[in-house]
């Protein structure tokens, strides 16, 4: 226990400062995100992530938002287990045909008003997988989409920027 406390003490808070290239961008985006979430969502934006058929690369970067470098909870963003608690769906694709009904049902379980963001090259337009007997491609082919975050996969910073833009235009 003492060693754990010692480690916590020595490492300190790593969330800030960030390496030069990202620092201004992350701080700026983070602060704007926090302000907008304060204004529009009472300080707390609940996101339900749905993997609708991805290669899992996008999931790794969405998970990274919770690591201490990004600490997205600091800005008021929470990933929730149930769509019934969600203000926003982050959907990665391509939407496999085997997941399309599950995706539709997840949307139906998400209360309005809600936002849907398609994540990644695959979520945006099918990416490397496109449309086929097994894939519906873009998320927008299955459910209405409000915003798109491109990249293969989008970096955590891209994701934060995309979430911010999506709530801004809301």
């Amino acid at each position: 226990m003492l060693r754990i406390l010692g480690k916590i003490q020595r490492v300190g808070i790593v969330t800030e400062p960030l390496p030069a290239a990202d620092e201004p961008a992350l701080t700026e985006i983070g602060e704007q995100l926090k302000a907008k979430i304060g204004e529009l969502f009472g300080g707390s934006l609940a996101i339900r992530e749905v993997d609708a058929g991805s290669c899992n690369g996008c999931e790794l970067e969405i998970q990274a938002l919770n690591n201490p470098w990004y600490g997205i909870e600091h800005y008021g963003v929470h990933f929730v287990a149930s769509p019934r608690h969600a203000d926003m769906l982050l959907v990665t694709g391509p939407v496999s045909r085997h997941m399309e009904e599950a995706l539709r049902r997840t949307l139906a379980a998400t209360p309005e008003p809600r936002l849907v963001i398609a994540v990644g090259a695959c979520g945006a337009d099918g990416g490397e997988f496109g449309e086929s007997y097994a894939s519906r491609g873009a998320v927008a082919n299955v459910i209405p989409v409000d915003a798109v975050i491109r990249g293969c996969p989008p970096t955590p910073l891209d994701l934060m920027r995309g979430i911010l833009e999506a709530i801004r235009v809301r």
């Binding site: 290669c55 899992n56 996008c58 997988f129 007997y133």
Partner: protein, 536 residues
């Protein structure tokens, strides 16, 4: 090419047993021993291979059209890949498309169960004595009378306007006082991939777990057809995003062997450098997540921090946080600039220290280890029966690592430290990861120290139609086997990537037995199968 001498006694044995096997030389498949035999003897081959102590490593089909039959009859070719003592054997047989039935290997090898059902769903091959003829990969997107990997099935298929949920899959149901069922998924509570788990439980204890996967099936094998080599490398790098380096390497190795092309030494060393970095990144993430699943947030944040800075360094040196699309046919897409040598070396020293310190704390926290010791035990016999590999196998006494047992460049010139544990529990799977991180860090140092100069790629030249190759590498989850065959104009005719997850998903069903339902997340994380890698 001479057949692999290691299998000569087995071939003699098969002949004596009355099997009509024929050893064939296929350049791109060497050093794998290739043999063909009549379809009716396929099941016997399984029994003999089992008796000989071979591991059933992979199986796949291919629609050969009229290529194999001088009379113009259409055939399907079935492959089964075995391994023993680091030597590989590829057996194949052909069956007429009009009568596609074949004895099964599953009675001898449980590892063949799902791969054969995948072949059944996608090629319409019936495995006569398969103990479980239920569909596996097919849900509701295509009909039971349609076979997407046959040549006459268009990639676009004939799907319904909207595909319905898969509601009719016949799960095993338990009966008796107090038995209840818990359905979970396909959409899971965390930021993870989709799949369905059906638990039969009594009180808190799991009586039985059945997995229903295939939700992320996106037709990778079908859309591989007709791609050029570069396009296939990109696709292979997306079979399972967390293994992008290893899958791209295996696919490129298969294509290069088919094309009789040897990438320059600097390229293979850089591939290994990226592959070891991928292993370290994933193990760091997993150790943090395993601890988090039993409520040890400290470790989750510490390892998350280490993983993030590791990925950032990958971005700096190779231009992508996961090093996606960095392995290309013939070599690598980016060279390592000299200014990154020192930082990469320093990073290794720093990480080794940090990881060892953190792990000392983990081992020293009884509240944590108490949850991990004895949880989710996979006995060595069970692991061997399922053909497990990677950290799952190595936590259960299975000492196999392609880098050591069937080394490929550059590992043939390097010392790869073996990691082995015997208790088969969550704790052992975590310890294997820890020790593998340290072993990979040693390797990274050796790779940086010995990195040869010269070009990082050879010019790609597409091979003639019919050329085929096998690529076998040790990804972070274990052995990846990739098969590629070229058709006309340097286009891919068949691609099959066998992710290690094919063998570890069934292990999860076994090791969860008699554990409590609340320990499922940590047991699952300790195995961490790829859904996408097995669903294809």
């Amino acid at each position: 090419m001479t057949p692999n001498p290691l299998f000569a006694p087995f071939l003699d044995h098969l002949a004596q047993a009355g099997l009509h096997v024929e050893s064939v030389a296929v350049h791109g498949l060497a050093p794998t021993q290739v043999l063909t035999l009549p379809a009716e003897e396929w099941g016997r081959l399984g029994q003999e291979a089992k008796g000989w102590g071979c591991r059933w490593a992979a199986g796949w089909g291919e629609d050969m059209g009229a290529e194999m039959d001088p009379q113009g009859g259409k055939t399907i070719r079935i492959h089964a890949c075995f391994e023993k003592g680091g030597a590989y054997l590829l057996a194949r047989t052909t069956i007429p498309r009009t009568h596609p039935i074949l004895p099964s290997h599953t009675p001898s090898y449980p590892a063949a169960d799902r791969p054969e059902r995948h072949t059944q769903d996608l090629f319409g091959v019936a495995f006569t004595d398969h103990p479980d003829a239920r569909r596996w990969t097919r849900h509701q997107a295509w009909k039971s009378s349609e076979y997407p990997l046959r040549r006459d099935f268009p990639a676009a298929g004939h799907p319904p306007a909207a595909t319905s949920a898969d509601y009719q899959y016949k799960f095993l149901a338990a009966q008796g006082g107090g038995v209840y069922e818990i359905p979970v998924g396909p959409v899971h509570a965390g930021i993870i991939e989709p799949g369905h788990f059906r638990f039969q439980a009594v009180g808190e204890t799991v009586l039985h777990l059945e997995e229903h996967l295939g939700y992320t099936h996106k037709g990778i094998e079908k859309i591989a057809e007709g791609r050029d080599a570069q396009g296939l490398a990109r696709l292979a790098g997306r079979v399972s995003g967390d293994s992008t380096v290893a899958h791209a390497w295996a696919a490129c190795m298969a294509m290069e062997r088919a094309a009789e092309l040897t990438p320059p030494p600097r390229a293979t060393w850089l591939r290994a450098l990226m592959c070891e970095r991928e292993r370290v990144a994933n193990h760091l993430g997993d150790i943090g997540a395993i601890a988090n699943d039993v409520g040890f947030a400290f470790s989750f944040y510490q390892f998350g921090r280490l993983r993030e800075s590791w990925q950032r360094a990958s971005f700096d040196a190779f231009g992508h946080r996961f090093m996606m699309d960095r392995i290309v046919p013939g070599g690598v897409a980016v060279d390592l600039e000299p200014q990154f040598m020192a930082p990469l070396r320093e990073e290794v020293t720093a990480l080794r220290k940090q990881v060892n310190k953190l792990m000392a704390m983990v081992y020293d926290s009884p509240s944590l280890t108490n949850r991990l010791l004895g949880a989710g035990v996979l006995a060595p016999e069970q692991a061997a029966a399922l053909g497990c590999m990677g950290y799952v196998g190595r936590a259960s006494s299975l000492d196999f690592d392609v880098r050591r047992n069937a080394p490929y460049p550059p590992y043939d010139q390097l010392q790869v430290k073996g990691v082995l544990h015997h208790t088969g529990d969550v704790n052992a799977r975590m310890r294997v990861r820890h020790e593998e991180i340290i072993a990979s860090l040693d390797l990274i140092e050796a790779l940086l120290a010995g990195l040869p100069g010269g070009p990082v790629g050879s010019e790609w030249q597409a091979p003639i139609a019919g050329s085929e190759g096998l690529g076998i590498v040790e990804g972070w989850r274990g052995e990846i086997i990739s098969y590629a065959r070229f058709g006309d104009d340097g286009r891919i005719a068949r691609f099959f990537p066998r992710d290690p997850s094919w063998t570890t998903w069934p292990a999860l069903e076994v090791l969860i037995h008699d554990n409590i339902v609340p320990d499922f997340p940590v047991c699952n994380k300790s195995v961490n199968g790829s859904y996408s890698g097995q669903d294809l």
